[in-house]
Amino acid sequence: MAILVNNKTKAIVQGITGTQGSFHTKLMLEYGTKIVAGVTPGKGGQEVHGVPVYDTVKEALSEHDANASIIFVPAPFAKDAVLEGINAGLELIVVITEHIPIKDTIQMVEVAKRNNVNIVGPNTPGVITPGECKLGIMPGHIFKRGPIGIISRSGTLTYEIASNLTKAGFGQSTCLGIGGDPIIGINFVEALEMFANDHETKAVVLIGEIGGDAEEKAAEYIRKEFNKPVTAFIAGKTAPPGKRMGHAGAIISGRTGTAQSKVKALKDAGVHVVDRPREISEKLKEILS
């Protein structure tokens, strides 16, 4: 099972001829991901690591069967790339691009919703179902297949925790970076819903951070409807209010969005919130034994 991506996922890479696009296409291919085509306007006819490049998504899909896309195009053109993917009939679009204007994201996420298209990101490391499909930029070797679902707003912090889990013997069903921006496609609640329906997933690790109320909403959902055990770590406990901490999302304003508020909401919902990343695998040992 797993969620979102598996060995049936066939993906195109939008922005494949750029530095990032080309580099990660190679890594994804090496991981075993089925990358069937690439798209870069004006570069149609080229090849990147053996993958044929087209000028438009429609053209790529007329030659190849694909249901997903991963987007590396620069921020000013990212919305257009997402809309092109939606318009061409893709089911899943992973938006790696960071620094997309919020107005653009609001629009592309809305159009995706109206067309029942799943958006991961923007500003995400992507999604990986170990051993089957990596649609993202995460280092593949730190993941191992197993019963733990990971949902995270962060990049490297996720690798930290996933790597700890793998070393501790806890493999992952799917690890999903939902993205660090204030507006994103799939959010915590929606990802939890997917894991709720995934028989392979026995427990979920939730990696949150300051800013917004996504963790509070997740806590509410967990309290009401989610029956699998959840362990969580929240980053940014010591961040001062009103300062941006890298991510567009990681800002606290006023009394909302603090780590304290999130930790409390999650604990109240029965989530095991830990203070140190490495404690997650310890907690899982308790839970799953």
Partner: protein, 383 residues
């Protein structure tokens, strides 16, 4: 990017949103000149980008120009909530009959812009939301259809306005949406929107935050950005030039890492073990040796820093490059500040080798490394 009140009001003027008559002054003399030219009671308002300016004494009133000189002298150069006042806005003092609130911002959960109106203006809107939720009128804006005049009227009607007031306030709310659209605003807010005794509706205050990610399509803010940079300290300026996310804090343990979440967690670990971070610095994904070198230079140029904790999780980022950057920066700066490095992931062995050859210990666990950094900082503080 947050705009100053006077900058936001200049944009309001473009859209014919009524604002009080007034001008900006950088000296008491200029402030007096403005007040004289208006020949009526004025408000002198410190231009700082912090909330609660009024309660902190940043807004004061004067009936005569002499008083303006006194207030402006006191405000200019003073600090409000730690921020220096470099400019004051001298405006006509409004005869207030009623204070309202209008604003548009982004609602993350709804994934939409939300327009907010309240008949309780002039106070902290979050307090109103908690204590009088029924007084907060919200409208989620359709991302494809936008915000329509009739929706503005429906909101303003719910605030209890009628007749001419309804038309005027709805028109202003509409224009706030145009500003959001045209300028890629994350937040635009009028608090208070004042109804004056002579029946006008005027934006007494103005708050406007532009989406930093959208600045590429707003060359009109280049000058504002420059002036904003003038307010950064030397280290913040350098980080901003190098595109490094750097936030200075009060402690003595310098922090460098890759990825915002990881760096925040690093700060948290340091705090958990009783240390005090001196900064947040994210070198970002896929950084090269030069970037690490610049990061280390910035952190080390902070005289408070006693030890630096570098936490690298190699994914796209190459550990060997990070190691090279560290070595080069150390040679260049010739610092004696101890470094604690935690490094795992892509090309971990190569990176570790480079550092160990230079006599720098590398740890595998971020928790252990944080503990070590805190210990060193405490030893040095004690010595």
């Amino acid at each position: 990017m947050r705009l100053y009140e006077y900058q936001a009001k200049n944009i309001f003027r473009e859209y014919q949103i009524p604002v009080p008559e007034g001008q900006i002054a950088e000296t008491p003399e200029k402030a007096v000149e403005i007040a004289k030219s208006m020949s009526r009671p004025v408000a002198v308002k410190a231009q700082v980008l912090v909330g609660g300016r009024g309660k902190a004494g940043g807004i004061r009133f004067a009936n005569i120009p002499e008083k303006v000189a006194e207030i402006a002298s006191q405000l200019l150069g003073s600090k409000i909530k730690g921020v220096e006042v470099r400019k004051v806005l001298v405006e006509e003092k409004l005869e207030i009959e009623r204070e309202l609130y209008l604003g548009i911002t982004v609602d993350r959960s709804a994934r939409k812009y939300v327009a907010i109106a309240s008949s309780r203006g002039g106070v902290d809107i979050e307090e109103v939301a908690e204590e009088h939720p029924e007084e907060i009128i919200k409208h989620y804006i359709d991302p494809l259809l936008g915000f329509h005049s009739f929706e503005a009227r429906e909101m303003v009607k719910k605030m209890g306005l009628r007749g001419r007031d309804l038309i005027l306030a709805a028109d202003i709310l509409n224009k706030l949406w145009k500003i959001v659209e045209d300028y890629d605003a994350e937040l635009v807010e009028i608090n208070p929107l004042v109804k004056t005794r002579d029946g006008k509706i005027i934006a007494a205050d103005a708050r406007l935050i532009i989406d930093d990610n959208a600045l590429f399509r707003h060359s009109e803010f280049k000058e504002v950005l420059k002036s904003e940079k003038r307010e950064l300290n030397e280290r913040e300026l350098k980080a901003s030039e190098r595109g490094l996310a750097y936030v200075e804090l009060e402690g003595d343990i310098g922090i460098i890492g890759n990825g915002a979440g990881l760096v925040m967690a690093t700060l948290d670990m340091v705090s958990l073990y009783g240390g005090k971070p001196a900064n947040f610095l994210d070198v970002g994904g896929g950084a090269d040796p030069e970037r690490m070198e610049a990061a280390l230079e910035i952190v080390l140029s902070n005289p408070r820093v006693k030890v630096v904790f570098i936490n690298i999780l190699g994914g796209i980022t190459r550990c060997d490059w990070m190691a090279k950057g560290i070595i080069e920066a150390r040679e260049k700066i010739k610092t004696r500040v101890p470094l604690v490095v935690r490094m795992v992931g892509t090309l971990e062995e190569e990176g570790k080798k480079i550092l160990e050859e230079a006599g720098i210990d590398v740890l595998d666990s971020m928790e252990e490394a944080a503990k070590r950094a805190v210990e060193i900082s405490k030893q040095l503080a004690g010595s």
